[in-house]
């Protein structure tokens, strides 16, 4: 009896402490958010649970595009005015390496195995492909003017690059590192991204005010999506970043000076909602479990956390000066 009682008490204590632990421990999806501050020359690191700043990391001049490597060990930051990539070691939360990027890198993409970095050189109309660890230049591919948006396909075989000044989306074969197709879209495309199944590429046209959906197999534009917010001037609707929901059923599109994020059904291409966020939202990212959408607002110097299910903005968290891009590390 005594023994039994004893062990029962033990069990009770153990259960209690487990409960306590569950109360104080962060939820399973706790992650780190890395936000580039274009004016501040820093990266703000936020804890996704507490939404408190863990660290502010100094970088080179004008940090904009930021992408986390697939293993979550490295975060790559384009520092355009320093003409290089700063690489943050996630364990140390400091820039520990630099990569030569070519002139004025704006945005980049990392291959799905983490081995390669694809960089848009805004100022000299090319895409630079590097080995992620050594910085060895594998190719420099001529594209249209002002390349910006970069994304690698889910199967790792194709990289898409937008040329903002030429209104083009280029498809690059990652084996040959040559262009396989070039597609005309609306004026000033800034971001191109694949649907999770890899079948379509969505490209935003900032001045055109539209999003073009390109069939990744035939390279034809199959749909052009327009936006209209009641009471909002059409010229303020300037789509920039496109983030797909985790299941691929919805696309979130940041509309810049319209201060909203559009929600688009990826089957019907209908806009189902406009979420109000801070001022001049450009780039966004999803939490690892897909439950939250983080929207970076350039003019209000903050990040709006949106519940990806209810589509309600929950809170806005201050970061540095003129925040631009965001990367999430689980």
């Amino acid at each position: 009896m005594k023994t039994l009682n004893h062990s029962r008490t033990h069990a009770r204590v153990a259960a209690m402490s487990l409960l306590l632990l569950m109360l104080v421990a962060p939820p399973a999806w706790s992650a780190m958010l890395f936000v580039t501050n274009e004016r501040g020359n820093t990266v703000t690191v936020l804890d996704s649970t507490t939404l408190k700043t863990i660290k502010t990391i100094p970088t080179g001049q004008r940090p904009r595009g930021i992408v986390a490597g697939p293993q979550g060990k490295w975060v790559y930051v384009c520092v355009g005015d320093s003409n290089r990539i700063d690489v943050i070691d996630v364990a140390k939360l400091a820039v520990t390496r630099q990569l030569p990027s070519g002139a004025d890198p704006e945005l980049l993409a990392v291959s799905n195995d983490g081995g390669r970095v694809y960089i848009a050189n805004e100022d000299n109309s090319q895409v630079t492909v590097l080995e992620a660890m050594t910085g060895k230049v594998l190719a420099q591919i001529p594209v249209g003017s002002e390349p910006e948006g970069m994304r690698v396909s889910p199967n790792n075989q194709i990289t898409v690059a937008t040329a903002e000044g030429s209104s083009l989306v280029h498809f690059i074969d990652n084996k040959t590192l040559k262009l396989v197709a070039t597609v005309l879209v609306g004026a000033r495309p800034r971001v191109a991204t694949f649907t999770p199944d890899g079948r379509y590429v969505w490209a935003s046209s900032e001045v055109g005010g539209t999003v073009s959906v390109i069939d990744a197999g035939t390279h034809q534009v199959v749909q052009t999506i327009s936006f209209a917010i009641p009471g909002m001037r059409a010229e303020f609707i300037q789509p920039v970043d496109i983030t797909m929901s985790k299941d691929g059923s919805q696309a979130f599109i940041a509309l810049g000076p319209a201060n909203h994020v559009a929600v688009v059904n990826t089957k019907t291409y209908k806009v189902s909602d406009y979420i109000i966020v801070g001022q001049r939202p450009w780039h966004m990212a999803l939490s690892p479990d897909g439950s939250k959408l983080y929207v970076v607002n350039g003019f209000t110097n903050d990040v709006t956390v949106v519940d990806a299910k209810s589509l309600k903005p929950e809170v806005s968290v201050p970061v540095g000066r003129l925040p631009w891009g965001i990367a999430v590390v689980p």
Partner: protein, 414 residues
């Protein structure tokens, strides 16, 4: 060999398009385009400028003469057009005509039109621009004004074939007025030169003051002619002259200067009797472009321009670049293959011309003026962009600048 504006080398394409182009001699099938690929679509357009003799800027940091001003911008735009075009089978060919100082613009224009050139980027002053537009053979052409800011070209002397990329003087003074009213600097001292252009700009300042509820507390004219910009120890004369010009004025907030011919405006700053900022054609200027503006990737344009022309970009260079970009958009985005199709595209309300101003821009239907945000800059930095917050319009906020439809005196139908 060139006959049409848009030469479709592929015979198949040309035959389908020729029918749609009956109104203008724009498409020529099977022309022996120089190095054209088999399915390339070639668009020809012309730059028409004149080496006018103009007073040099007062600042010695500014070049006295820029021989390729305006033209260099069109060249850069053409490079951009071909940069994109090479991926799409589109080619753009620029035909350059620079009339010498003593030359005749009309003769040059007739030659261009006779060669079949109906897309003309006009870097001309108002009288020459009108003389070209009024040529019978220019009817149906598209003439893109990249230089003349004269209000009259948007009002009683508007022409259906002339499209104004460059803002009017009225747009510029309205842009400044909105900012000054927003600052609550509403008492203006108007100082102007003697040149007709100075008087016109001064009239615009008065018009903007009325429109935005500012008060012109005094108006004075600077009497002396433009002199040499380099004079040994010339600063001493200026130091005594400018206080004389600005003495005994009722209390005011800003000196609003109208000096289009660079005779004294720069010298007002720091030399007025009362310590007041200078705005207008000097000091804080309203302008379509400035080399210190860098938003919306504008720096890329500046960098590319410097590489091409080996000098700083000017507002005329920007307008030239914008004209080339407009024609590119019509051909590339609008799939236009004839002059009429280009006109249809650029006169559509759906036009979204990109010009590093964030928003897409289009033309006012009542006077062919491009709607656009206006930059407020000093020589070294961007101060603001108008329209200012709170100055709203029922359709386009940019229509708060210059002549809105109710004030328009333009009648296109003859």
């Amino acid at each position: 060999m060139r006959r049409g504006i848009v030469t479709i080398v592929a015979a198949l394409l040309a035959s389908t398009l020729a029918a749609a182009s009956s109104a203008t001699p724009a498409v020529k099938a099977g022309a022996s385009g120089s190095a054209a690929k088999s399915s390339e679509v070639v668009t020809h357009y012309a730059y028409l400028g004149k080496a006018y003799r103009e007073p040099a800027p007062l600042s010695l940091l500014k070049p006295a003469v820029i021989p390729d001003e305006g033209l260099a911008g069109v060249r850069l735009g053409t490079n951009y057009n071909n940069q994109a075009g090479k991926f799409l089978g589109l080619k753009f060919v620029l035909d350059e005509t620079m009339v010498p100082e003593d030359g005749d613009v009309v003769v040059a224009a007739k030659k261009l039109l006779a060669s079949g050139q109906h897309l003309i980027i006009a870097d001309l002053k108002a009288p020459d621009l009108l003389a070209v537009a009024d040529l019978p053979e220019a009817k149906g052409a598209i003439i893109l004004n990249i230089r003349a800011r004269d209000d009259v070209l948007r009002q009683t002397q508007c022409r259906p074939d002339v499209f104004h990329l460059v803002p009017s003087d009225a747009m510029l003074t309205d842009a400044l007025a909105q900012y000054l009213v927003w600052k609550k600097w509403t008492r203006w001292f108007l100082v102007r030169g003697q040149h007709p252009a100075d008087i016109e700009y001064a009239n615009d300042i008065t018009r903007s003051a009325k429109l935005y509820g500012a008060k012109i507390v005094a108006e004075r004219a600077y009497e002396l002619q433009t002199g040499a910009r380099r004079v040994d120890t010339g600063y001493q004369e200026i130091q005594t002259q400018m206080p004389m010009l600005t003495r005994g004025i009722p209390d005011y907030d800003v000196a609003f200067v109208a000096d289009e011919t660079n005779s004294f405006g720069l010298y007002l700053q720091y030399r007025t009797t009362d310590p007041r900022p200078v705005v207008g054609t000097d000091g804080l200027e309203a302008t379509a472009w400035g080399a210190a503006y860098e938003s919306y990737a504008a720096q890329t344009l500046h960098d590319d321009f410097l590489k091409l022309a080996n000098r700083e970009i000017t507002v005329r260079d920007y307008e030239g670049w914008l004209a080339a970009n407009l024609l590119n958009m019509a051909v590339q985005q609008g799939n236009a293959r004839t002059v009429d199709a280009i006109r249809k595209y650029i006169t559509s309300d759906g036009l979204k011309l990109s010009g590093y101003k964030g928003e897409g821009m289009n033309f006012r239907s009542w006077d062919n003026q491009l709607r656009q945000p206006i930059l407020l800059m000093d020589q070294l930095s961007l101060v603001s962009v108008s329209p200012q917050p709170g100055f709203l319009h029922a359709v386009y906020n940019t229509d708060t600048l210059g002549f809105d439809q109710p004030q328009s005196q333009c009648k296109f139908s003859k």
